[in-house]
């Protein structure tokens, strides 16, 4: 690991003032410290945000919306009873990610900012435009499975690995960020950037800005009765998604009145398609309907010959997540959160 200067500011103003180009914010460290050991990230200065007051609160507002502080741990959020009741698929996605230990350490902001798991990005000797602009991309002609099927560019075919971000995209979360020029909110859909010809630009954060909170609206909680996250992976637990989907429905008298669908692990950001969601409205839940919505969500997907199966798998993951959402949110978190295995349903939540 390269040497760095370590600071632990006690206030937000102190944190903003300690920023300099080449610095990194530190949350739980589960991604940053790993990448620093690999030499992939070499910050001159590490600014530890864990001692700043007020970043660790979960606050429900009068209007039913919730504000989640940037330093709340992934485990604390998933286990917060009020939060899990109102936003069950977000809790399910969080609990399907990483391990019990890592979820205790990982923060909300760090999860949003985590870097791709593309193997060539993590391998210092490989060519990678995201790590070293202009170097080329060794993943493009490789057998890398964690590869984007949608929204990729000749410069980069990496995916966003986060589970948490997939339901956040479906529920239209807002990201509250702070910089020396003040505070602003970024809609989730604009937060992660597609690679284009500048894959090194990953998010809408400006230099020196940091995430201070995440917001979910009261309207987003309206999906709580029919909301699921489904994650297909190489082993039953403790693995990144091969494909994933967050599906949420609002139903009245057996008819879908509103639908949300976001796919994970298929692009450099969670993938949401308005036409796919529109197809659901006004219909009763039905396997063929969910198949058509999944097809529409994956429209334009491209894969090299050896990965064509992944397009099919992503479609089926989406259709199945919709079917699970239609059945209803389980009253208790499944033993294997977001897993296609194990007992899925049982008692349903009627919140």
């Amino acid at each position: 690991m390269k040497h760095f200067d370590y600071v632990q500011p006690k206030t937000m103003d102190e944190a903003l003032a300690s920023w300099e180009p080449g610095a990194s914010w530190l949350g739980g460290g589960t991604n940053l410290v790993d990448l620093m050991k690999l030499g992939v990230t070499q910050p001159q200065r590490v600014i530890d945000l864990t001692r700043i007051p007020d970043l660790g609160e979960i606050t429900f507002q009068q209007d039913g919306s919730v504000r989640i502080g940037a330093m709340v741990s992934n485990a604390a959020l998933a286990r917060h009873a009020g939060f899990a009741q109102h936003f069950p698929m977000v809790a399910e996605a969080l609990l399907s990610g990483a391990s019990g230990q890592l979820r205790n350490m990982a923060t909300v902001a760090g999860n949003l900012m985590q870097r791709t798991r593309c193997a060539y990005f993590q391998e210092e000797t490989a060519a990678c435009n995201r790590r070293t602009p202009g170097a080329g991309c060794d993943a493009r002609d490789s057998d890398e499975e964690l590869r984007a099927l949608l929204g990729a560019s000749p410069a980069c075919v990496a995916t966003n690995p986060s589970d948490f971000c997939v339901p956040l995209a479906a529920l239209e979360a807002q990201v509250e960020v702070r910089g020396v020029n003040g505070t602003r909110e970024i809609p989730f859909a604009d937060f992660h950037l597609l690679p284009g010809d500048q894959p090194e630009r990953e998010t809408a954060l400006e230099e020196g800005e940091l995430i201070i909170a995440l917001h979910l609206s009261a309207a987003a909680a309206g999906f709580a009765r029919h909301a699921r996250y489904l994650k297909v992976r190489d082993r039953t637990s403790f693995a990144f998604a091969t494909t994933a989907a967050a599906a949420a429905l609002r139903m009245e008298d057996g008819i879908i009145t509103e639908g949300r669908l976001a796919l994970g692990a298929v692009a450099a950001r969670p993938w949401r398609v308005a036409e796919a969601e529109a197809l659901l409205v006004g219909h009763a839940p039905d396997a063929a309907l969910f198949g058509r919505a999944a097809e529409a969500a994956m429209a334009g997907a491209e894969a090299p010959a050896h990965l064509e199966w992944k397009i099919d798998l992503a479609r089926r993951t989406a259709a199945r997540a919709l079917a699970m959402a239609a059945v209803g949110t389980p009253a208790r978190m499944p033993a294997l959160p977001a897993s296609p295995f194990g007992q899925q349903n049982g008692d349903l939540a009627h919140v």
Partner: protein
């Protein structure tokens, strides 16, 4: 740079000097504080061998910068037994053959102590397996590990009830 941090380490107050911000909690324990019970497997958060409790919650010591831990309470495998009395999780691992070579065992045991404190798994084997998935066992002692965690979880719940009564 030299930085001083105060820790409560296995119940004892310790002032520690950190001369390099790159030192992880794992290296601090093993290389500088003579506590080699916490193991290094992958050094990347992927195996769980380095699991300790930080402020009562299980965490991977390999990904924690020691410099950030001023004021923290750390419990390692060395701090679990009370003299000759093993912690219920330690005793259950022995009874149920929860290991073969033993390399992953300190991490497994600390993770199980953390999982039981979290209270989500109870003695449901499927929830225990899911809750313990951050700890890899190269010898494949998973069956014994699951039985041991079940047993310890039951005994600790019974003891709590007994104490409350």
């Amino acid at each position: 740079m030299s930085l001083f941090i105060s820790l409560t380490l296995n119940g004892e107050a310790r002032d520690v000097s950190i001369d390099d911000p790159r030192v992880t909690l794992l290296d601090l324990l093993r290389e500088r504080l003579a506590l080699p019970g916490t193991k290094k497997g992958c050094d990347r958060g992927q195996c769980g061998a380095c699991t300790v409790l930080v402020n009562g919650r299980r965490a991977n010591a390999c990904l924690m910068l020691a410099a950030g831990l001023d004021g923290a309470q750390i419990t390692t495998i060395e701090g679990l037994a009370r003299g000759e009395d093993l912690h219920p999780v330690q005793a259950a691992f022995i009874e149920h053959d929860g290991f073969q070579c033993g390399y992953c065992t300190p991490g497994q045991i600390m993770s199980a102590v953390g999982l039981i404190a979290e209270g989500d798994a109870g003695s449901d084997p499927e929830r225990i397996r899911e809750g313990m998935s951050g700890n890899i066992c190269r010898c494949g002692a998973y069956h014994g590990i699951t039985l041991a965690v079940q047993e310890a979880s039951r005994r600790m719940a019974a003891k709590e009830e007994g104490d409350a009564a």
